[in-house]
């Protein structure tokens, strides 16, 4: 199994280590519930160095990426990022990712750990067929790069202290908290360049910090030291998963795979059908026009029941109940105190308030389709 540059830090902090996408990662340090609530109420620090980073640079980088990814990259000014997807010709998702425009001709893609091998192979294949391939330099910089997510409503109270100098690239701001959502800037940290984007995977305000692998331990230590008195706790993949499920962010291998399209997954907003030709466009346009065969729904358990889990069957309710599909993500919601999940059902059963039943160990427990996100912050 692969280890991130923060592996020994996790051991020192008492992290419980598990395998995830070929990596040995902390699932929790104290308790998933504790860490989840810390992120909702104060702040949490996550090692996301297992995620892959691909640099795409050169005069034809934009044209290349815009025909390989679903969202419209031309909307990005320097120092901005967007959520986007990479599809095959059938519209199936190869990966979902963040694409940042770091400079006029330079893009950074943040990709899933479990997908990085397939992604890079796909990108290389696409590039070989691209007319202006001489104008694109594709580099997998995952090995040399570490990353941390720092998430929660109190992060803005202390992150600036760790990065006191004015940004030197991207969106040129004085301090990290001047960044708006999806903006990214280059800051200097102990002589190294680090990129800080205002984004995350928890539904809370927060940042992702991308730094050279050899610097990531000192970034982690600095954030943890400055954040402790603001309620910051190290948080593992367990809390990362419950947090993202509550706000219905997809996780590759659960909501997304090569046989599922972004339209089916409810991600049409990130598919720019009007931008011109791109891989998968024909199928996606057809699905958008005629409606997909299945739709991703969010649901809540309505009675006292065990939490739903991936692969549990979803049934319609009532006398002539039929099997509708399968749960793809499910857990006990730490914020709501009930079972929640996501699953694929035929479009007729996708409206909020539609009653469903989830089969748990041979018995069916009542659930109801709810709007996304399942958990919404009260303002």
């Amino acid at each position: 199994m692969k280890r991130t540059p923060l592996f020994s830090t996790h051991q020192k902090l008492g992290g419980k280590l598990i395998e995830f996408g070929g990596w040995e990662m902390p699932v929790q340090y104290t308790s998933i519930l504790d860490e989840h609530l810390a992120v909702r109420q104060a702040a949490g620090l996550f090692d996301i160095s297992h995620m892959g980073e691909v640099s795409v640079a050169g005069p034809a980088a934009e044209a290349f990426l815009n025909q390989t990814l679903t969202n419209d990259l031309r909307k990005l000014s320097v120092g901005q990022g967007q959520y986007t997807l990479m599809c095959n010709e059938r519209g199936g998702v190869i990966d979902d990712l963040y694409a940042y425009r770091l400079a006029a001709d330079e893009y950074l893609m943040i990709i899933n750990a479990s997908r990085s091998g397939d992604d890079v192979a796909w990108l290389e294949k696409q590039l070989a067929q691209f007319e202006q391939h001489g104008g694109v330099k594709l580099r997998n910089i995952s090995e040399a790069t570490g990353a941390i997510a720092i998430q929660g409503p109190r992060v803005a109270e202390f992150i600036d202290v760790c990065f006191p100098e004015t940004a030197v690239g991207g969106t040129v701001v004085k301090r990290p908290t001047d960044l708006k959502k999806n903006q990214i800037a280059k800051f200097s940290f102990n002589g190294a360049d680090v990129w800080i984007g205002r984004t995350g995977y928890t539904g809370e305000d927060g940042f992702e910090v991308i730094a050279p692998a050899e610097k990531i331990e000192s970034v982690w230590a600095s954030l943890l030291e400055m954040g402790r008195s603001h309620g910051l706790k190290p948080a593992g993949l367990g809390a990362r998963d419950t947090l993202r499920t509550e706000v219905c962010y997809p996780l590759y291998g659960h909501e997304l795979d090569e046989n599922t399209t972004p339209i089916e997954a409810g991600l049409a907003f990130f598919v720019a059908l009007g931008k011109g030709e791109f891989v998968g466009r024909q199928v996606l346009a057809e699905q958008k026009a005629n409606g997909p065969r299945k739709k991703l729904v969010a649901f809540k358990m309505t009675g006292k029941s065990a939490p739903p889990r991936p692969h549990y069957a979803i049934w319609s309710n009532g006398p002539n109940a039929v099997k509708l599909g399968e749960v793809v993500s499910g857990t006990q919601s730490p914020s709501l105190g009930c079972g929640i999940g996501l699953g694929y059902v035929p479009p007729d059963f996708s409206r909020p308030q539609t009653p469903l039943e989830i089969e748990i160990r041979g018995k069916r427990a009542p659930a109801v389709v709810v709007g996304k996100p399942i958990y919404r912050k009260l303002n």
Binding site: V27, Q28, S31, I32, L33, H36, G238, D241, T242, S305, A306, P307, R309, T331, Q332, P334, R361
Partner: protein
């Protein structure tokens, strides 16, 4: 360090048994609750069910996973802990007390000899 009370018997699958005459109380160990972490749901056997030693008869769910609980001994279920169903966190906070699962009337008391003592269980979990 996990607690391992001296007066209990243990199964390799991390259940404990407290014997009083022909009655036995069953729960999961401190080590088990620590490994499971945050218990959010407990499903107990049907009342009066006859269980065999080694048979899956309850389920404990943490935030992340569902785990079967195997009866360490055979017998007929006589009592279920309704408090732990209403408040599954008792499994974490008091695994040998308020977090018990069920009581049964032993049908094969000799099975108790095949269970682990506290020292053997401690050795199994790597010294606690």
């Amino acid at each position: 360090m996990s607690q391992i009370p001296a007066d209990l018997k243990y199964a390799k699958s991390h259940e404990w048994v407290r014997v009083t005459g022909e009655m036995a109380t069953v729960g999961i160990t401190d080590h088990a609750q620590h490994e499971l972490t945050d218990v959010v749901f407990v499903e107990l056997p049907q009342p009066s069910r006859k269980v065999k030693a080694g048979e899956a008869c309850a389920v404990v769910e943490s935030v992340k996973t569902a785990s079967d609980i195997y009866s360490p001994v055979s017998g007929e279920i006589t009592d279920l802990n309704k408090a732990v169903v209403d408040n599954p966190a008792l499994v974490n906070s008091d695994p040998y007390g308020a977090g018990w699962f069920y009581k049964l009337k032993l049908s094969s008391p000799a099975e108790l000899n095949g269970l682990l003592g506290p020292d053997q269980y401690k050795a199994q979990i790597g010294g606690g």
